[in-house]
Amino acid sequence: MNDIIANSDLLFKGLRITLMLGILSGVTSLVLGTLLGLARYSNITPLKICAATFIEITRSIPLVLYIVFIYLTCSPILGQINIFHDEIFGSLEFQSAFIALSLFTSAYIAEIVRSGLKSVETTQIQAAKALGLNIFQRLKYVILPCAISRMMPALVSQFISLIKDTSLASIIGLIEFTRSGEIIYERTYNETQILALVALVYFVICYGMSQFSKKLEQRPFGIIKLGF
């Protein structure tokens, strides 16, 4: 217990980095993944092929491979750009982890988005067309609202995976939550308590998100407010 209290600063700092990495790459991958999913869903062949290639390659390799690849190839470039002077955002490790997690997760989100879009029945789309709605109106008022409510459970579990996946950024030396715990037990040899605490914190975050998602599922269209 004393080891935890004595090192709580380091643990909190690690947790902060984990959460920031998770949230930032979560938002980025949601945007990127939606675009990729739309590209693969579209009828524009070159766009479709590019999106499909990126998605399929990304989904067949391990995340750690992705992280170290981005780190080794991008950090020379990132080091030169050096835009952020912040202690956290400015570190090459954080930036590389952010890029890798965003790209990696976006491939999975793209597939969720695509299958959500595909799950909207053609008859629904035809009904919308028949009313004279153009492609953007169809997407905005009919296809996306239907698709999003079906996508929610899969999206939430993808974000849970993302939070868990941030632990792998420790491989490039980013001192996020897992690595901060590791540093402490390497000093104190108190593996049991520290790993139990680290596991508990991850569990609370991820289990909380999954329970939240179950609540959403109980009212399928409740999350989508339509104002037009």
Binding site: S60, I61, L63, V68, L72, T73, Y185, A196, V198, S210
Partner: protein
């Protein structure tokens, strides 16, 4: 301009081969253990005993909501304090099996749930006991429905096996990473790594497809 030079890979071919064998060994054994454990969990969860159901649910939630890396560290670092010491590679297999079994049992359960409850009632009414009902009636129907989803769990397992490198097991990922970083031949090694993992996951995808097709020939298909 960076000039690709694949001869570095030839020089390292023994290491690469050994790493590949370790990855295959870990993946294959973990797949078998994970599947068996998941079947057991699925059976237990279907029993009318509150306590068993609670315990299995607790296991599944814990396994799914804690990063695999932390679970791996716990087995590697904490278990020895309680007199349970395994070699690093066995720690890896154990962690991967426990982690993946939780996911597989969720997949199997969704299959079980899509089987009409009348099937179970009819079987019980015929006098089959709960184990017979599970093994002969509900489980065979459930597994057919979920084979594609099951395949993607085994694919995840192969990718996750790369985490054993965190506890100093020299698997294919470790060889690729070290080679790329130490020889400064990043692109050659990563191209190889990508191809190897695509190959491994591709094989699982093909096997899944074959099993799915062959099961469709026999027996009537259950509609989801």
């Amino acid at each position: 301009m960076y000039a690709l030079d694949f001869s570095v890979l030839l020089d390292a071919k023994n290491l690469i081969w050994q790493g590949l064998l370790i990855t295959l060994q870990v993946s294959l054994l973990s797949s078998i253990f994970a599947f068996l454990l998941a079947v057991l969990i699925t059976y237990l969860r279907d029993l009318p005993n509150k306590w068993i159901v609670w315990i299995t649910n607790a296991y599944i939630e814990l396994a799914r909501n804690i990063p695999l890396l932390i679970q791996l560290y716990i087995i590697y670092k904490v278990y020895p304090h309680f007199g349970l010491s395994f070699s690093p590679i066995n720690c890896g297999i154990l962690a991967l099996s426990i982690y993946t079994a939780a996911y597989i049992s969720e997949v199997l359960r969704s299959g079980m749930n899509s089987i009409a409850s009348q099937q179970k009632q009819a079987a019980l009414a015929l006098g089959l006991n709960s184990l017979q009902t599970f093994w002969l009636i509900t489980f065979p129907q459930a597994i057919r429905i979920v084979i594609p989803t099951l395949g993607s769990q085994f694919i995840n397992l192969i990718k996750n096996s790369s985490l054993v490198s965190f506890i100093a097991v020299v698997d294919i990922f470790y060889v690729i990473y070290k080679g790329a970083a130490d020889d400064f031949r990043i692109y050659e090694y990563f191209l190889l790594g990508t191809l190897i993992y695509m190959g491994l996951t591709g094989v699982v995808a093909i096997i899944t497809n074959i099993i799915e097709k062959s099961l469709k020939v026999y027996g009537r298909e259950a509609k989801v």
